[in-house]
Structure formats: C-alpha cells, structure tokens
C-alpha cells in the first residue's frame, strides 16, 4: 500500500525540457513566474496561456497528469473566482440580483486571477517538478546557490541533507510497512474507530520508526566518515553540468515571451488590471 506513493512528481522522459540543465531550469522557472505577473490585459493572459500550453506539449506530459495536478487547487480557484466576481467593484454593471452586483471588471478580474494561478502551477511544474529528477534539482540548486557559501551559508550541507532525505524515504516507507505489519500481527487496528483513536494507533508505529531512524543516522554518519566525508570543502563532483545551446535557446524563448507580453500590455486595447 505504502509502496504506491510516488516520490516527488517526476515523470522520466527525453523531451527537450527533460534535458535542460537543472540550473537553467530553475532560472527559467523564476523568469516564467515574473512573466506571468507582467501580464496586464486579457490578450496577454491569452498569450501566456498559449505559451504554457506549448510547454506542456513540448514536455510530452499527458494532459491527464496535468489536470490531476490542478485538481487539488479547485477549491482555491473557485474561491478566487467567486470572490472577485462578487466583490470587485467597477462601473459597468452586468447583473444585479438583489444585493449581489456583478461588474464587468469583476468578471474580467476573476478570469485573469484563475488563469494566473493555473498557468503558475502548470508552467512551473512542467518546467521543474515534472521533468527534473529530485536529485538533479538538488544538484542544480546547490550549484546555483554555491556563491552564497562565501557568505557562510551552508549550501552544501543543505543539499547533502536533501540528498540523504531523498535516499532514505523509500527505506523508511519500507520500514513503516514492516512495523505496521508487525503491529497488525499483534492485533492492532489502524483502520477503524474515531479519528483520535486511529491517530493514537499510529503511536506504536512512529516510536519504533523514530528510534530506528536515529540508529540509521548514526550508522550512516560513521559510514560517511569512513569514506572520507568532511563537508563541502575540497570536494569535487563526478557529474559536471554543462550549459548547451538548447539551454540558451530556451532562455531566449522565455525572454522573448516576456517582451511579447510587455508589448501586448502596451499596444493591445481592452480591459487592463
């Protein structure tokens, strides 16, 4: 049962988005988010939606996966839409139902906000989480932030912690399964009773899990020391990251997209935020 949990949201593939340098992907994601927030009018939002759709196609991730990713946000999206629709004032009244007044501006604002949130989520997951393995992401982050280690920020240590956490998640899941089975064999019941009761039933699982994690941590620390680990100083890396033509091509595309949005904001008439 616990084995079905997928780690992160990574979907292996060979698309151009998969093959980009992770450092570049992090930079691109930030730029992409900036571009979304630059959008001011409906035409610009339409443009960024198209752009996002194009990225989805490029990534080769199925539409179903993307929709699944949006699903948990439905409540927030609905709330945003309704809130803006009913409470955003303006001067072009569309509908009046008793005390409820819906303005043209409110309707536009609601659409814009929903599009913004959806693009933000879909775009950044297609660029980063769906197409980058967690280990690449950690690696990219470490190298991108490595200048900060000059300011005595423990960048290497954080990335090491991330790597170890990722390494041990499957191990701990396996162990949880084992402990749960052991407790079940002794007659414990995790699936019935009130919420409080079920939460209490988890204690005999968590405590052994905690203790064994500490033991594992101790063992691992000694093993790492035996393999000459002494932090990030003087450490080299086997895999080297290289920025290639496609990385710069993608950067150019995003910058172009940003420029297009600015132009649309300025020259295409219509409702503006």
């Amino acid at each position: 049962m616990l084995k079905d949990i997928t780690l992160g949201q990574f979907f292996p593939g060979k698309s151009i988005l998969h093959r980009l340098d992770p450092r570049m992907k992090i930079v691109l994601s930030i730029l992409y988010i900036v571009v979304i927030f630059l959008c001011k009018n409906l035409a610009a939002f339409a443009f960024i939606t198209l752009f996002t759709a194009a990225m989805v196609v490029l990534s080769g991730i199925s539409l179903r996966t993307i929709l699944k990713g949006i699903k948990p946000l439905i409540f927030i999206l609905a709330f945003t839409a309704i809130y803006n629709l009913f409470f955003y004032g303006g001067d072009r009244l569309l509908v009046k139902l008793g005390f409820i007044e819906i303005y043209y501006e409110g309707a536009m604002y609601a659409v814009a906000m929903v599009v913004r949130i959806v693009c933000l989520l879909v775009g950044s997951s297609v660029l980063l989480t769906y197409t980058t393995s967690p280990i690449m992401l950690t690696d990219g982050l470490e190298r991108l932030l490595s200048p900060l280690s000059k300011l005595k920020l423990p960048v290497h240590e954080f990335s090491m912690m991330m790597t170890i956490a990722l390494r041990f998640i499957p191990t701990l899941i396996e162990e949880t399964d084992k402990i749960m089975n052991a407790q079940k064999a002794r007659g414990s019941d995790f699936s019935s009773g009130s919420l409080v009761r079920r939460a209490k039933a988890l204690i005999p699982i968590l405590i052994p899990l905690f203790i064994s994690s500490f033991r594992r941590a101790g063992d691992l620390a000694v093993a790492m020391e035996c393999r000459c680990y002494r932090g990030g100083n003087g450490r080299t890396k086997m895999t080297q990251l290289h920025l290639s033509f496609r990385d710069f091509a993608m950067l150019f595309v995003i910058l172009l997209c940003g420029a297009a949005v600015l132009l649309i904001n300025r020259f295409v008439p219509g409702f503006s935020l």
Binding site: P134, I135, T163, I164, L166, R167, P170, T171, E174, R215, R216, D219, L220, V222, A223, M224, E225, C226, R227, C228, Y229, R230, G234, R235, T236, K237, M238, T239, Q240
Partner: protein
C-alpha cells in the same frame, strides 16, 4: 622480513565515560597482531568480544586508549597526525558495515560509488573512470543507474564495496557484512571478497560469525574477551574444538561431525574443513 600492512602492538581500548559499570573493563586488552599484505584474514568472536571495535580502531573512527597501530609502517596513534593523514588512513583502510541500507548515501548507484572519490577531491574525469572500473569489478555495471532501494541486500553490499574500491584502498575490513544477507547475497559478497583478494591484491579482514566463511581465509584469528584467543590457519584453529566451544563459538558442521566420530573411537583426523574432503574420508573409512 615479512611485509606487514597492519601492525598492532599492545593495543588496549576502553569505551570512555560508559555509564554501565560492567563496561568499564577494557574492550580490547593488550592485543598484538600483524597482518601480512595481500592476505585474507578472518576474525571470529562472539558478540561483544571486541572484534568490531578493532575494525573501528584500525581506520581511526576510534582512538586507542593505549598501544600502537602501524599502517604501512606509519604510526597512526601518533598525536601529531594531521587531518590529511587521518583521511589518508581512512582511504587506504576501507570499512564495509553490517547493514547494507545504512551505508549508501546517494539516490543513484553510480553517484554513491562516486561519493568517496568526490570527497577526496579527485578530478571529475578520473572519478568517472574509477566508478566504472569499480562497478565492473563487483559486477554491478548494469545497475549503475538504479536507485539503491531497488537492489537486493547482496547487491547493496556489492555497491558499498565498489564505493570503497573507487578510493583504491590497500585493505578492506568487512565488519559482519554478510550477517544480514540471505544465502544468495552472502554467496555474492563472499565471491566478490575472494576476487578482490586474489585479483586486486587487496588485503581483506573479514569479521564474521559464520564459520563456513572463515574456512576460505588464509588465517583465522579468534578474539575472546578482548584478547587474542586462537590464531592460525583455518585447519589449526578449527581443530581446537573444545577451546572454540569454551569461547562460545561453533566449528563448521563437518568438523563437528568428525570430532564426534573421533570421540566414538574412530581414528579420523581432527582438521577436516570442507564437506567434499569429509565425504571422501568417510567413504574410504567405510570401505
């Protein structure tokens, strides 16, 4: 003069500040032993006999209370040792632990093998080469891109061994590395250990409970109560059945069988180690 890789002289160790009073007595008590370069030595002893402590002392995870350890002629108990010297000792004396899960660091097999050389600051191209060679040596090349949790226990131990080989050690100490494995994994690891010793000339110190594994060694050392109890070839050591039993250790099944037959008055030798050998002797005795 014989070429010793490891020389231990009058070594004692007591765990500092231990809370239980009964641990106050030394874990290792004035031990002296020499390990020849390129040999395959098995260290036997029941739980708490101090054999794992010895392993940790040899690669400087622990510091001896008194005595001297020479690795390749260099005194590692010298207080003048710099950090560089300590890491050099840890590089040349690799340690493989019992639990295969708790010694792999990275999420991908080849990244894990690269961990040691990366710590040594070796240039990337050379790390790549060492990793490929190490994986080939333990027969795990096809698993290079796998994640450790997809592997069996024996495979994980082989990855851990590859991680040490990539650091080009002189000696590898196996601290009960086969204890948690199933028979198949045990066989894989034992074959790998034998290969390393024979083909790569790596000195092997194999700490184990399993008597059948000890038979394969050049030399068997039995540690009991922190002291060296027996030391010799497997044949010499396993013929001392009474002494071994007194130390809480068994002998291989065949050896035990022959000992009982001798007690019943059959004129059979005491130093039988392999089942084939035993079967032949029995057959010739019966005809």
């Amino acid at each position: 003069m014989t070429d010793y890789l490891i020389s231990v002289k009058d070594l004692s160790f007591t765990y500092p500040e231990s809370e239980d009073a009964h641990r106050e007595h030394p874990v290792l008590n004035h031990i002296s032993l020499d390990i020849e370069r390129g040999s395959f030595v098995c260290i036997l002893g029941h739980n708490g006999s101090g054999k794992s402590t010895l392993a940790k002392l040899l690669n400087m995870i622990l510091t001896p209370t008194s005595g001297q350890i020479l690795i390749d002629g260099k005194d590692i108990t010298d207080p003048q040792m710099t950090e560089e010297d300590i890491f050099e000792v840890r590089r040349s004396i690799g340690l493989v632990f019992q639990n295969p899960d708790n010694q792999l660091v990275a999420t991908v097999v080849e990244e894990d093998v690269a961990f040691g050389p990366e710590n040594l600051g070796i240039p990337p191209a050379e790390i790549r080469e060492r990793v490929d060679n190490a994986l080939r040596a333990v027969g795990m090349t096809e698993y290079a891109g796998h994640s450790p949790h997809q592997l069996s226990g024996g495979q994980k131990q082989r990855v851990a061994i590859a991680g040490l080989i990539a650091m080009l050690p002189k000696c590898i100490i196996f601290d009960e590395s086969t204890a948690m494995l199933d028979p198949q994994g045990r066989k894989e690891v034992m074959n790998t250990i034998g290969m390393l010793n024979r083909e790569k000339g790596i000195t092997v110190l194999h700490i184990t409970h399993n008597m059948d594994e000890a038979v394969a060694a050049d030399r068997v050392i039995v540690i009991n109560e922190g002291e060296i109890y027996l030391d010799g070839t497997p044949r010499q050591v396993f013929s001392e059945i009474d002494k071994l039993n007194a130390a809480g250790l068994d002998v291989p099944q065949v050896t035990a069988l022959f000992a009982e037959l001798r007690q019943c008055g059959f004129g059979l030798p005491a130093d039988i180690l392999s089942e084939e050998e035993g079967a032949e002797l029995l057959a010739s005795a019966l005809t």
